[in-house]
Symmetry: C2
Subunit: 741 residues, 2 copies
């Protein structure tokens, strides 16, 4: 067990490294050459442009020394933008995301103050550890529950604190759920009219022997939604077409490149070779060559499009169906259409950029089988994760390498190589495996068949949370690999498990403090400097960028990787809740993490990240559920711990807490969850009753038969579905979603 | 352990008693005097009338001896009515109910044949028990898995049988779910038009400072369902009014009685007294007296109605809202109306007779608290059920009675009283408590706040199933009260629990065989004779019946007490599945039970029961879930049992089964459940597109503004809600549902 000096040293080192990152960031962001990396969001929005190209040095390095004196100003700046503006600027997803850190602060700051005021004196004067002579103990442990003797009345202070912590967490969680759901409703109501608000995605359209998919959809919705159905767009499996479109884009880019070269130097027409990126083959005139190539691809594309449209096999049993009003779409998305509830599945059309196209056409039984397989795989992955790692680690040991690659023998026998292999390699392998986990889980979610990227991320986050819970939290407390724990737990009684974990818990507090500083503080500070995108940008800029378009695409602004960061953040919630009563000294470290992460992520969503989709905070129910899960775990562990402390009366009193927590969860679920799942008809009507016609200025698809105001469509003559008009729609470019763009 | 002779004796006795019941029934049903008890359904339907009143003896006793020779004909008669006719005659609920027994037959008959063919030889030649000299064993045990030695390869036959049983059960369950859901859709589509098909029950209407509830509903639905909203009916808390209506009915009955007496004997005007059922008080002319009394009550009723309508406190925050089409109602019932999903809750209006009026006005938080309280209460009730019984039993012992009621000392010291108290009283007390259980659980469900009688019965059945599982099934296998089991299970490891139960299981087979015969065979046979209603009918007929109306009401046709009988039936499913692999000799007894119950309940729903409501088989998902639960329990128990039999390879193979079962459950849930919860728009359109106008011949409320065909209402001028018409509706008699009748 580390004592206060050790912790202080570690804190000092980690604070230093975090500061170094921050200073590095402050320096790098002032350099114009990095502008696109650190302000990519503004570039994407078209608000910020390349710095003026007057002086050639100033183009790359900032020589204004006054700027360096204000290097810390980005922090207050990041906090300055008011939340409504931030929602406008970055979307509700991002704002809801940084509110997770705010939630952490709201929960833990008051708890920390109260714990310090009440539990510190109670623990400090407990004086158990002093009496045990042969035990080395640190000052940290004198501040924890371990210092209170068994059977002492002081333990009731902890029981009361457990109630205070739970009730306060309930209160904050409820308020926050309320705030986010209000914001979501406002956001959806205030959103600009887009086709997807009037549309529903229909999947699992059953095959019909007499009709094509398109006719079948048409007839089905004409019969079942006669007053609101407007038109539909069948989806095509057009992967080849998408490839051709990509090819065309690349060729056009090359053409632009050679044209600008020719413009700058009109004396010499640029030449290129025909094979392998212009490196081999016959030398030809570049501009002519690419022009003819583009012509060829355009012809191919037209042929391919014709083929796709006429090939019944390319038609997926899915379609986007549009309605005359948002009310009609809301109704269709929420109701069951067919007798067989696995056919004609309807849901709100995801944003076009949010759709995960590969999964749109999976039939029900296959989906069900996939979920089963993934559930089983997930079980093995979580509990037997350590086995392949141990295998690789044993292979990467000195003996293993000697066996597999005997010719390396002389190399690895050198002392430096030896110490690297022995000391560093196993840790590195673990790190690599751990970094791969979210990607593996994401692949699993994709197999499960979710149809939007946002739902993929939400499901992956759930899996990753379980993984972190078992392999990081439990794995750190109860040492040993997860499958060994599993065996222990199966062979242990239900009442023993919380005891085993609960007793081991206080001793691991110092470990987790170090973990928070390394993974939390330094990790978040590393986020702001964006080392990987920075390097990649400069590499691309130097070697690959040919045109402005290329430069545009060289910066990867990135986005909040919700499925990676949120489950990790949940670990801090869990640690905070678990240790708030047991070893409250951990709380300040967690609070620093939350505050720090809040500032940095707020800065990132303002200046850097460009979200891939907007789900309007749809992940909040998951966040809420996982915090409550953490709370329940903390309550059971405290119960287990106090069970060993000889306070039998505390058991029934503490057993009330998990029951209360589960009840609270159900209360909130009933109160808020459907705001995130369904779309209340009230909102549809209140926002769209008078001007339900679409925004016609935009370049989006026009959903309304020309010139007929929506209200008049109800007259009996007009209300039937205008088939002709529908059929004439939708013959533009793209992959499957021609109609969207 | 009982041997085959014991079982045979018990079977003989129980068969005899069942036969005695059946003979008694065959005799009693032929007596005209019992006609109303044994053919009450036909009387209710008005098809069967009182036997001709020619000969006075024949009126009471059947003297036609030929009839007695055909006393068994009711059985084939009961089976003869084809199912579609039966659905017409008794409703889908009843038919779905008897199909539970059919399901039992479909599952267990093939399994029994296969088990007999395969497992009997395997077990019989196992010869473990023969080798153990000092163990007394019976022939029954030689047929069970106990006779197969540990580690024997013969045990693989049991593993394979477990797979066959599970897969066959899946198949039958899936098919049956499919059949029932098809029948449900057909039934709903074919149902006669009733107001409740066009209506939605809205609850939790939020208070509005400026508007009355009625105005608020009006405005809300005019805004949110402008094209389909027709009218609404606010609900009043009119308990006083309901009392007055009851009084009026009773007075009218007395008036009829005295008028018929006067008609038969016109010379003497009947007289009555004014107090206490005409026994005391001033003597007055009966007909005049009751006429004036009725006048008084009618006036009171009018005043009370005026009061209720004008009293804002009497208005409940709930209303029935009617739509112009079933489509509109289906849409409203399935969608979320308000931003706050706990307000403006909509669901299909239950049938008027199915509504549980007391629970219509419970706000969300109160509902949530009630569910929490009942969940906790349910836990204690299930696991600590034996404690109050033990207490009462100890009070009812000789010592207890002597202490509490010392003056009875001389009485209870007599040997006969003593043996009664010692031998019979504890069993009687247990029986009484057990009989009270479903009623207590029903009271709990009522507190939970469900709004229809059908949902109350479904929830109670769920609770009772848990109770039977813990207190009857587990309680019989692992002897000891439930709370002791609970303690054992908490202190035992997860892998030990199935072992403990699994090992005890084969030894209890003979006990359960006896249980099936006593509770199943004799119990069902007792059902057909309807002893309690028979006695009550004759008592009422002799002492209370004054008029034809009274006689009509004296027969209680009863109904299927789903919440009592279904969980008990589930115990037989569980026993069958658990013992099908372990001790298949139990299966014939279960098959006889299912066959017997099927015939008898088919007879009862044809001739006797009059269902209180019709939910169109809405309970089937529960039945399905509970059978799958039984299957999972059986799989875990087999796993535990084989764990002790030294076949380690079998464990992972058998672990696949519960995973498969849970997957199967989810597959079926996704495929069928929403057919029982929602109402597909397809059905609404397919059944009502051309003649959506209501059946106007009936005496039900007329929902359509006079003379306007439904289709024309869409024209812009007419489509707005006709407020005047709505306001003029709904001023008839009744409790809250004036408008319904």
């Amino acid at each position: 067990m580390a004592n206060i000096q050790d912790i202080a040293t570690s804190a000092f080192i980690n604070t230093l490294s975090a500061l170094a990152f921050l200073l590095g960031f402050a320096f790098l962001r002032l350099q114009p050459i990095n502008d696109r990396v650190y302000f990519s969001k503004w570039y994407r929005k078209g608000i910020r442009a390349e710095p003026k190209r007057s002086a050639s040095v100033k183009k790359f390095v900032n020589l204004d020394f006054r700027a360096y004196l204000k290097f810390w100003t980005w922090m207050p700046e990041a906090l300055r933008m008011p939340e409504p503006e931030l929602i406008d600027h970055a979307g509700l997803d991002s704002v809801a995301y940084i509110r997770i850190y705010l939630l952490g602060l709201k929960i833990f700051v008051p708890i920390a103050i109260l714990s310090f005021a009440i539990l510190f004196p109670v623990n400090w004067f407990g004086e158990t550890l002093k009496n045990i002579k042969d035990l080395t103990y640190s000052n940290i442990d004198k501040l924890s529950i371990a210092n209170v003797p068994s059977g002492s009345k002081r333990l009731w202070a902890h029981v009361i604190m457990a109630y205070v912590v739970s009730l306060w967490t309930f209160y904050v969680l409820y308020k926050e759920y309320q705030i986010i759901s209000t914001k979501r409703l406002q956001f959806l109501a205030g959103a600009k009219r887009r086709p997807d608000q009037f549309s529903v995605l229909v999947r699992n359209i059953p095959p019909d022997p007499d009709e094509s998919v398109s006719e079948h959809v048409e007839h089905f919705f004409c019969v079942n939604h006669p007053d609101y159905y407007l038109m539909h767009q069948v989806l095509y499996d057009a992967n080849n077409l998408a490839g051709l479109v990509e090819d065309k884009k690349s060729l056009k880019n090359w053409l632009t490149y050679y044209e600008t070269r020719f413009e700058r130097n009109p004396k010499k027409r640029p030449r290129t070779r025909t094979c392998l990126l212009g490196l081999f083959g016959k030398s030809v005139d570049a501009i002519d060559y690419y022009k003819t190539e583009i012509e060829k691809v355009i012809k191919k594309e037209a042929a391919e499009r014709e083929k796709v449209i006429n090939d019944p096999k390319a038609i997926l049993p899915a379609a986007f169906v549009s309605f005359k009003s948002r009310w009609g779409a809301a109704v269709c998305a929420q109701t069951q259409q067919a007798h067989n509830p696995t056919l004609w599945l309807t849901e709100w059309a995801p944003e076009p950029r949010d759709v995960f196209w590969n999964n749109l056409a999976i039939p029900y039984v296959s989906l069900s089988v996939r979920r089963l397989i993934i559930a089983v795989a997930m079980f093995f992955f979580t509990f037997f994760f350590m086995i392949p790692i141990a295998l690789v680690q044993s292979l990467a040991s000195i003996d293993g390498i000697q066996k597999v690659l005997p010719f390396l023998k002389s190399l690895i026998q050198r002392p430096r190589a030896k110490s690297f292999i022995q000391g560093f390699l196993p840790g590195l392998i673990l790190k690599i495996f751990m970094a791969l986990v979210p990607q593996i889980l994401m692949a699993m979610s994709k197999i499960e068949g979710h149809i939007s990227i946002s739902s993929l991320e939400r499901r992956t986050a759930g899996k990753y949370h379980l993984f972190v819970l078992v392999n990081v939290f439990l794995g750190s407390i109860v040492a040993g690999a997860a499958f060994q724990q599993l065996r222990t737990f199966i062979n242990q009684s239900a009442s023993e498990i919380p005891k085993t974990v609960g007793v081991a818990m206080p001793m691991k507090a110092t470990f987790f403090i170090t973990y928070i500083m390394v993974d939390g503080w330094a990790g978040v500070a590393a986020e702001v400097i964006r080392l990987v995108p920075l390097v990649i940008f400069h590499l691309k800029n130097t070697f690959l960028v040919k045109t402005e378009l290329d430069r545009e695409e060289a910066t990867d602004p990135g986005s909040l990787a919700f499925y990676i960061t949120e489950p990790r953040t949940q670990l801090y919630f869990l640690l905070g809740l678990v240790y708030s009563v047991v070893t409250p000294i951990i709380l300040p470290f967690i609070i620093v993490f939350f505050a720090f992460a809040y500032v940095i992520y707020r800065h990132q969503i303002i200046n850097v990240y460009d979200q891939k989709y907007e789900s309007a905070g749809k992940f909040w129910p998951d966040v809420h559920r996982r915090v409550v899960t953490g709370l329940v775990i903390s309550q059971f562990l405290l119960l287990g711990l106090l069970n060993t402390k000889d306070v039998p009366q505390a058991t029934p009193i503490l057993l009330v807490l998990p029951v209360l927590s589960m009840w609270f969860y159900h209360l909130c679920k009933g109160r808020f969850e459907s705001i995130f799942m369904k779309f209340p008809l009230q909102s549809v009507k209140q926002t769209g009753c008078n001007d339900e016609r679409h925004d016609r200025e935009g370049d989006r698809g026009q959903l309304q038969p020309e010139g007929v105001p929506e209200r008049c469509l109800r007259a009996p003559g007009v209300q039937r579905c205008n088939n002709r008009r529908v059929a004439s729609q939708g013959s533009r470019d793209g992959r499957w979603w021609w109609w969207w763009w």
